[in-house]
Symmetry: C2
Subunit: 376 residues, 2 copies
Amino acid sequence: MSALESDLPLTRESVLEAHERIKPHIHLTPALTSRTLDRLASTSRSADVDGIKNARGVTGDGAARPVVRMVFKCENLQRGGAFKIRGATHAISRLTPAQSSKGVITHSSGNHAQALAIAAAAASIPCTVIMPSISTPSKIAATQSYGASVVFSGSTAPEREAAVREEQARTGATLIPPYDHPFILLGQGTVALELIEQANAAGRPLDAIVAPCGGGGLLSGIATACRGTGVRVFGAEPRKDGANDCQRGLKAGARIDSVKTLTIADGLRTPTGAVTYGVIEESVAGVFSVTEWEILMAVRLVVERMKVLVEPSAVVGLAVVLFDEGFRRLVQREAGEGGWNVGVVFSGGNTTLEALAGLLVREGEFTNEQEQLLRE
Amino acid sequence: MSALESDLPLTRESVLEAHERIKPHIHLTPALTSRTLDRLASTSRSADVDGIKNARGVTGDGAARPVVRMVFKCENLQRGGAFKIRGATHAISRLTPAQSSKGVITHSSGNHAQALAIAAAAASIPCTVIMPSISTPSKIAATQSYGASVVFSGSTAPEREAAVREEQARTGATLIPPYDHPFILLGQGTVALELIEQANAAGRPLDAIVAPCGGGGLLSGIATACRGTGVRVFGAEPRKDGANDCQRGLKAGARIDSVKTLTIADGLRTPTGAVTYGVIEESVAGVFSVTEWEILMAVRLVVERMKVLVEPSAVVGLAVVLFDEGFRRLVQREAGEGGWNVGVVFSGGNTTLEALAGLLVREGEFTNEQEQLLRE
């Protein structure tokens, strides 16, 4: 068994260094723009536009009317379908030769496991993924298709952790955590380096970046990458069942370390980690949260208007820009008539046509939730 | 009333000239690659891979096993959601001042109408779209939202054409045809200029391009753009109900000018035009056709693996590369072990989540059709 130790400072320079290491192994994902979405974001009358009805609960003269030009960083088009390959590849590049020879292990069943499998295969390092034996066959097959060994465990966290320890005792594999580690967050932060450069090339030098926040690896990495650049960084969370743990923690002045939520943004159900929360507290300009209905509307807009597939977790940043009056008032106040260029990170696209169709069936249900929230 | 006359030669130089004219008004759409799809295209055992079952009806040692590296040109991410903006913008740039002042008109109810509306608005030229009064309200609203005047007609072709003539008599507007005109095909051909350059930049200089063929504007334009470059151009059509009119016409030695099909690739239900067919006959290396099931499998792969939204018409080229044994044997024979770099054009992405979900419901039905075809 071997610990993944880091003495890297959490600085922009460390993110730049991580980028050099991982560049050959990742896609430079496209940065897209959309006149339709800019128009939607820059009106106070979303109720009147494109069927977006009463999403904000505020329309007309009372509502904020910021000027927003967005640049969308499409990590849904990244290798493995999500930004996770960045952190995983970076962590693997930092292993000692002794660690490399014994392989890596994880017990995430989501995007991180697939990313680690891909990154390990690229480095010719053995990779083991602990998965609950009740996992869907397609998920198991996908992880195996990337070359990882799948070891089954019970489905509770203690059972999975025990299985990891058992496997580590046997093989000496190094555990690569999904988000709460300097190597991981520095790797994820490389998204911001590319986005800033691509926005400049598109004639939209960024004033701000909005990114999803689950465990906080992506958000804290971006905040680290943006230090000293003048680009403000904002986080976005789902609100359902208190999934906005980071936002609530910042308000209360203490990290919330446990969350139980069934938000459709299933990649954001985890609470922020200790390391990531520290960075976010220090360097993030604000965290906002959105309803299930707002997330669904954002998915529909991105899929149907921008023509790229996104998982619900990927669009909470866009939902904040479109629907959160607090964020929108802030932009209007700080940006004035010139407006802001806002980088919006689409974090992943790992979903199926069936799953999206299933969300549409629930649209009415989401509308009710939305209305209830507005009454509260 | 005013005719759209062209004295432009159908040469690569004319395509280059068209590109200079339209560049400021269109997106340089991304060119993507996918290891998963390359792997699928480069195996003879598609039956074993990723749930693609018996698509070719040929597996194992008898099947072709070409080496294919693809570069996907994402015109589904183009302004208006399809390549059509290229031809429309080019045609508008060629209007005389007198024509411009009187505006443009069309009776396409598909991607061409929206593209023309966008292109006309950009040039501050009035645009009228004749639409059947039974059109879906969302389609009418979308066309109007781009600034076009919608005039209603009956739903048969003669009724629509009569409405166009009536409107032209009143306004003097110039009819911009959807595909069968030099200005249009030269505009559509600009896709190939970008794709060739992007493939070079990606280290995959193209051996061939495969593009969908409906009216033939896109395919004939690409063939024109590739003249003298050494890049072979292939066409792809749906086969259902004889929708492969171009393939059948080439075989019989005479253009087929009427088709009645209900293929899910609804953008490809039109027969090739007289001008476009002439170019295709002269400059296209081959036209292949695919089943409904193969189209659906290609949609699913692109949406779920590449994470971009495509309409069924957009993926017939990919379906040919993956599933057509004739094409695959040709590649294996001509390319040998080194393989080919193949540019695949995704022509558009104008569909909805509901429509895609509806296709999935029909998957079983398509499988039956597929099996029947294989027995024939």
